[in-house]
């Protein structure tokens, strides 16, 4: 039964079963029967959860460098991480974005450490022995548990010189970099506050830069956790815009994502869309319209490519209750019902599509209205957040799709429903094919636009479509109505094909230019045509026009998107005219640098196609010489001066593109290789203000690009003696560069990365014996992450090319054991992109053991990391497809019948069709890991508190995060002092390896049993259970009696001076005080009895032992 269909159904069901959004939890609290009467009286029950977290595998990530010294000296730190709502990995909470409460957080850490968390740092107090400090945080803005985060380490502190309420943290020794990196942040703040006409919602903001970050940037309430690798000095050019982008992204998410949270998973697109959209506005302002449009184009191309490949990204999935049949994403190998079942790539594309759709909405209702809508959402939320005691108002801080759309229609008065229906409620993109003919008699342009809406990932588009036609007399916009059956559109032309030689030609932007019109068709006034120039449809356009039209478009159209499109189109027209157009663009300094960079590669391709007729020196060589070499000695490059970034980028790119040139023998021309080697030789950065590490890295890339497959005679073994002399030169350079890196490392080791890639290219082309040993040493833990990724990529490639089972095992082993979550994720990702084999492919690697291994990884090896699990699923899908892997032995049908009839032990080789297709919730023990992975022990009880109550029953809930998924549950700790608590939920599941432990009689029975339990979680049927569901599932279900819930995280002093045992392993101790309370609004008496429900002040006097994470 190792098929993915089955897995993803079961997985989705398991995630559903513990989905906090749906009111399900992983920690069930059973109200003792003695307390039922209090519940009936609608009294407040206070729940206190003590727990410790011992060596968590997920949720918190510890980085402890293995050097001498104290933890602080070693730079050891810890931070919370995860994908979507993953806070429950490190403390018990209602881990839903829609459950808001205010927080009081306390962290006791070593005196040399700083604990950074959400909200305001109220005070820092030493412990009695003065060895530790307690950081007291107060977050008075209602916030979902999922937006709570933590970072502890010996951070260096930098108060932002422009905004004193903003504090930056970095690891020791990096302060100068931090200063430079964050020096720009205040401008981002100003920008967002200005466009949103709204102050930043939190009273403070913190940025923390940590090592081994889970993602480059993670936004939480009033703080963001970044990767330390984003830090850079003033000498680094390439990283600067990237880092600033991440900072801006993080800040956009502070407004939409942290402050305004989402109602449910299906509303996620609104938040991602808005934050991505305002981030785009920031990009436009900061980097200019060209960069912005280029980015939009790139994002659009990406989403189009992905949707066409996989079959669609759905922004707003609507799940009809029970109607499982019309699964909105049946084309995918995972369920999109939950964030935690999504493939990471899908989620990335989801975010990309969300902001593009937001841009479409802006196109429809204007930016002004758009910003008004955002402002409205924000001001409503901030009004609600200040209502301390009316938590029902807090729902204003949650955004839902319907609420958002309503705001739009209120503010703009426009109906955007069709747009929403097309792009949000429906997946797929539009694929246009356009061609045209000019009817000279009627002076009409006959445009034919076809659509492909049958391929996967496509949809039919009906509605307006803008077409821009550049004629001799000017540029004209036409809006066509795309309808069901109309393919042809007649567009009247304004100008006759006559030539008025002296006349300048007006462009779209009002500019008038002289053109050499000799190339164009004498009968037609058309210069070029563009379909949907503003990218107001999520589409792919394949348009046919003559080569000279593309050339005119490239030369004279001022929109960078049009220029890029024409460059790509010109690849198909290898003519001298194309060559000239591209060369002209390359030389034109006013032209956007990315267009020029793209033109380099196109020129290389054209040159290769024209190789037999090419005249003159290799493409770009004379251009490069003119631009970057000395006047007196053209073979020597000028000493580096990167003050002009545009020419810097061009200088970097040209050699890389040139190296792709090939001569008639399909070899890189000797001249080009010598040229590149000279560039390396004469490179001189002494007078430069900027580092040349990226430039040198690209020169190595250029060397790698010049490598062509070795001519092999009789499969001789590759040795030094028969090494090609050119390759010898290349190897010399690589060796020297790689060795120099050891002595003078470059920023982010860009040069090592390029060298490793180049070595792999040499191996692959048969110049150097193929051997993964070198890469494996560089892939080890302890190297910089970029190096590791490059080395791992080489190993992945080796695995594929050489079909090495050993290396595949090595990689999979690393997936399971590497300390860095990002690396583990990345290996799976790279294996998926460059798989050693795919389904329907014969490969010695495809065997049963591998299936088992991956299956196990999906089921039980990755319980602590959603992203990793989904990565494993992706890989499984790539390797084996949706159905049963072909390498497994064929199931014997008889066995199935036997299974069903007898009470035999389940033999999970196959799955009956019915089970696979019907989407019954989790029905096989194989897949229950998710359900129980985080709830290994649940002994919970409610404690009633009265006003005079002093003793609070408490007990520890021990969570073992490192417990593998699917292993049987352990009975919980025995409650310490209270007899009235009950260990209630003890589900015993086992994974496929331990089937004999299932104490079910038949398969059916077991399914029923599980189903029952799941149901029990969802819909408690007995009074007792109802209480537990009230406590556990604090989501306000409409039918549920509690309409108001206020939760406060109160802290109180310890009644007992409990000495926390110092934990050797982590050295950090966190006391997390966190308490949820439920108040029934209608009972006024209760209010009086429970005064502290109103106040945010600590419920002093209450003896509440805080849970300690690492006791």
């Amino acid at each position: 039964m190792r098929n993915l269909n089955y897995f993803s159904n079961a997985y989705a069901a398991a995630v559903s079963a513990v989905d906090p959004d749906a009111g399900n939890g992983e920690l069930c609290i059973k109200v003792p029967s003695e307390l039922w009467k209090h519940v009936d009286e609608l009294k407040v029950l206070k729940v206190h959860i003590n727990f410790s977290l011992d060596q968590p595998k997920g949720g918190l990530h510890f980085v402890v460098p293995n050097v001498e010294g104290s933890m602080a000296e070693r730079g050891a730190h810890v931070f919370s991480c995860g994908y979507q709502n993953s806070t429950r990995f490190w403390f018990p909470c209602v881990d839903s974005y829609s459950e808001l409460c205010t927080w009081k957080l306390e962290y006791t850490v070593d005196a040399a450490m700083v604990a950074v968390s959400n909200g305001d740092l109220v005070e820092t107090i030493y412990t009695h022995d003065m060895r530790k400090k307690t950081f007291h945080y107060m977050l008075s803005i209602p916030t979902a548990a999922s937006n709570i985060s933590l970072a502890i380490g010996p951070f260096e502190i930098l108060v932002d010189p422009y905004m004193h309420e903003v504090t930056h943290f970095c690891l020791p020794q990096l302060l100068p970099l931090l200063k430079h990196t964050t020096s720009y942040l205040h401008e981002v703040f100003e920008f967002y506050e200005e466009i949103l006409t709204c102050r930043y919602p939190y009273s403070c903001f913190k940025t923390v830069f940590v090592d081994e970050a889970y993602v480059e940037v993670a936004a939480y309430a009033s703080m963001s956790i970044f990767s330390t690798n984003l830090l850079h000095s003033a000498m680094i050019i390439d990283e600067t815009p990237l880092t600033r982008r991440y900072l801006a992204q993080a800040l956009a998410q502070q407004f939409f994502g942290c402050f305004i949270s989402r109602m449910s998973w299906s509303d996620e697109w609104v938040l991602k869309g808005i934050s991505g959209y305002i981030y785009g506005l920031w990009m436009k302002k900061t980097f200019g319209v060209n960069e912005y449009r280029h980015w939009i184009k790139k994002e659009l191309d990406q989403i189009v490519l992905y949707e066409l490949k996989t079959g669609g990204v759905l922004l707003h999935p609507i799940f009809g209750g029970g109607k499982e049949k019309d699964n909105p994403a049946s084309h995918l190998h995972f369920s999109i019902k939950h964030p935690h079942t999504l493939s990471w790539e899908y989620y990335t594309m989801f975010q990309c599509k969300a902001h593009l759709v937001m841009r479409l909405i802006e196109n429809r209702i204007s930016m002004e209205f758009m910003l008004q809508v955002f402002n409205k959402l924000l001001s409503l939320a901030s009004t609600a957040s200040s209502q301390k005691f009316q938590s029902h108002m807090w729902s204003q801080m949650l955004v839902s799709t319907s609420g958002f759309l309503k705001s739009i229609s209120n503010v703009s008065g426009k109906d955007i429903q069709p747009l929403i229906k097309q792009w949000v409620d429906q997946s797929g993109v539009v694929k246009f094919y356009g061609s045209f003919a000019f009817n000279r008699k009627r002076n009409v342009l006959e445009l034919e636009i076809k659509q492909d809406y049958t391929s996967p990932g496509t949809q039919k588009y009906v509605g307006p479509l803008k077409v821009t036609v550049q004629e001799l007399d000017g540029s004209f916009n036409h809006t066509l109505q795309i309808e069901e059956n109309s393919l042809k559109h007649d567009i009247p032309c304004h100008s006759k094909s006559r030539r008025n030689k002296k006349k300048k030609i007006p462009l779209m932007n009002g500019e008038e230019v002289d053109m050499d019109l000799s190339a164009m068709d004498a009968d037609s006034p058309l210069l070029w045509i563009r379909i949907d120039p503003d990218m107001s449809v999520l589409r792919k356009v394949e348009f046919e026009q003559a080569d000279f039209m593309w050339q005119y478009q490239l030369r004279y159209e001022r929109d960078v998107v049009a220029q890029e499109e024409s460059i790509l189109a010109l690849e198909k027209f290898p003519t001298p005219a194309s060559r000239l157009a591209l060369t002209d663009i390359l030389e034109q300094e006013q032209c956007f640098y990315r267009v020029r960079m793209l033109a380099c590669f196109c020129l290389a391709k054209i040159a290769n196609s024209m190789v037999s007729t090419w005249t003159g020196p290799p493409a770009m060589k004379s251009l490069f010489t003119r631009m970057f070499c000395c006047k007196s000695c053209p073979n020597i490059v000028k000493t580096n001066n990167f003050m002009n970034f545009q020419s810097y980028f061009l200088q970097k790119t040209m050699p890389v593109a040139m190296a792709l040139l090939r001569d008639v023998h399909n070899l890189c021309p000797k001249e080009v290789l010598t040229f590149i080697l000279d560039l390396i030789k004469y490179n001189d950065n002494r007078k430069n203000k900027f580092s040349d590490n990226y430039y040198r890295a690209e020169l190595i890339d250029a060397l790698a690009n010049s490598v062509t497959p070795a001519v092999s005679v009789n499969n001789e073994v590759r040795t030094l003696d028969n090494l090609n002399p050119d390759v010898r030169l290349i190897l010399e350079e690589i060796t020297r560069f790689l060795n120099m890196e050891k002595l003078l490392p470059s920023y982010r080791h860009t040069i090592t990365v390029s060298c490793l890639k180049a070595i792999r290219v040499l191996q692959k082309n048969g110049h150097v014996p193929s051997d993964p040993a070198l890469f494996k040493t560089y892939a080890e833990y302890g190297h910089f992450v970029d190096i590791r990724i490059a080395a791992l990529e080489a190993v992945v490639d080796y695995t594929k090319v050489d079909r090495s089972y050993e290396e595949l095992q090595w990689l999979l082993n690393m997936v399971q054991n590497d300390p860095v979550p990002y690396i583990r994720h990345k290996i799976l990702n790279m294996l998926t992109r460059n798989p050693p084999f795919t389904k329907n492919m014969e490969s010695p690697l495809c065997n049963e053991a591998l299936v088992d291994q991956l299956w196990k990884l999906m089921n039980s090896g990755t319980s602590h990391d959603w992203r990793l699990r989904c990565g494993a699923v992706d890989l499984y899908f790539t390797l084996f497809g949706l159905s049963r892997p072909s390498c497994l032995p064929l199931p014997e049908l008889g066995l199935v019948l036997n299974l069903k009839e007898k009470k035999a032990v389940l033999n999970p080789i196959i799955i009956p069709e019915s089970v696979a297709n019907s989407q019954e919730p989790v029905n096989n023990p194989n897949n229950h890991g998710q359900l129980i992975g985080f709830q290994s022990t649940e002994d919970d009880h409610l404690v009633k508190e009265t006003a005079s109550n002093v003793s609070v029953h408490q007990q520890g809930v021990k969570r073992k995060a490192d417990m593998p998924l699917g292993s049987p549950l352990e009975p919980g700790q025995i409650p310490e002092k209270n007899e009235d608590s009950k260990v209630k939920l003890k589900i015993r599941f086992s994974n496929s390896q331990e089937e004999e432990e299932i104490d079910m009689d038949t398969v059916h029975d077991s399914q029923a049993f599980i189903y029952h339990h799941l149901n029990m979680l969802e819909r408690p049927s007995t009074p007792g259970k109802e209480q537990s569901s009230l406590e556990l599932n604090m989501l306000p279900v409409a039918a549920a009696p509690l309409s108001v819930f206020s939760k406060e995280s109160n802290s109180s002093k310890h009644s007992d001076h409990h000495h926390h045992h110092h934990h050797e392993h982590k050295k950090k101790k966190k006391k997390h005080k966190h308490k949820h309370k439920h108040k029934h609004k209608h009972d006024s008496k209760e209010k009086e009895k429970e005064p502290f429900t109103f106040s945010n002040s600590p419920a002093s006097g209450r003896s509440i032992r805080s849970p300690s994470l690492s006791d």
Partner: protein
């Protein structure tokens, strides 16, 4: 007196078998001194003296005279001369505590004995260093007492003229190949002295790669600019960054100072940070909770 003389000659004859011309020279002078001492003793009324006593007195006299000579030489050199003059001797004697006034009277005393000058023996010849060329004679304006010119090879230079290298191309070429050679030599050396990896199984020396070694804190080497780059940045920045320093305001400078201290001792980072906070707070009124001092724990009363 005769005894002493005979004994003195006896000493000489005793050591005769192994004398060199230089020894002879010194012995002759010493013998004269002995004669002087003996005559002085006679003058003072001694009939005879023990050999050892005479030797001691000779020794003392010799040291005294040597010291006078040495000091006198110093004085004369001090005044940039080569030959001591009478005044040098006088100053020396004064310096040594000798009453110079009494000297003429003493010299003219009646009973003084006249001793024959020591026999002229040849000045020992110091073996000449290899001479190259002829020493230059003093030009007319230099007094003859000045030392001779040293051997010509010590100061004569023979310039080897070449065209000054001003061609840009060659300069660049040279700089490039020089750097490349240095880099190659250095990396080869490193590779030879440490562990290496190789791309070819059968050959480890042609393209030796220094073995990859994991770092304990990899991000530090990856992110921090190398010293070379820092230096370079300082050089290139000095001109351009002037305008920037104006915009960077005071608190930034403050934290620059702190960073050094924090680096030195990470364990007291916290204290530093809080200290710097209070300093910052005073000087620029930044109120940031992370800069506030850490509070002392409250003492709790037991109920």
């Amino acid at each position: 007196m005769a005894d002493t003389v005979s004994s003195g000659s006896g000493t000489r004859s005793g050591g005769k078998h192994s004398t060199t011309p230089a020894d002879n020279y010194y012995l002759a002078r010493r013998r004269t001194l002995q004669v002087v001492v003996s005559s002085l003793l006679t003058e003072a009324g001694f009939e005879s003296a023990e050999k050892a006593a005479v030797e001691t007195l000779t020794e003392m006299l010799q040291s005294y005279v040597s010291e006078i000579g040495r000091s006198a030489k110093s004085y004369c050199e001090h005044t940039a001369r080569t030959q001591p003059t009478l005044s040098d001797i006088v100053v020396t004697l004064v310096e040594m505590g000798f009453n110079v006034e009494t000297l003429p009277a003493y010299a003219k005393r009646s009973q003084r004995m006249v001793i024959t000058a020591p026999p002229v023996t040849n000045q020992p010849v110091t073996p000449k260093a290899l001479t190259a060329g002829q020493n230059k004679p003093h030009p007319s304006h230099i007094p003859g007492h000045f030392p001779e010119f040293p051997d010509p090879h010590t100061y004569i230079k023979t310039p080897t003229y070449r065209e000054p290298v001003s061609d840009y191309q060659i300069l660049r070429e040279k700089a490039a190949s020089q750097r490349r050679d240095v880099e190659r030599a250095l990396t080869r050396f490193m590779a030879k002295t440490g562990e290496t990896q190789s791309l070819f199984k059968d050959d480890v020396s042609t393209f030796p790669l220094i073995a990859a070694r994991p770092f304990t804190i990899p991000y530090l080497t990856a992110l921090l600019p190398s010293e070379l780059e820092m230096q370079q940045m300082e050089e290139t920045d000095s001109s351009e960054q002037d305008d920037q320093t104006d915009t960077e305001n005071l608190p930034l400078h403050m934290s620059t100072d702190d960073s050094g201290a924090e680096k030195e001792n990470a364990s007291v980072l916290q204290q530093n940070a809080s200290l710097s906070g209070s300093r910052n707070g005073e000087e620029s009124l930044i109120d940031n909770p992370y800069l506030r001092p850490v509070k002392k724990p409250k003492i709790r009363r037991k109920k």
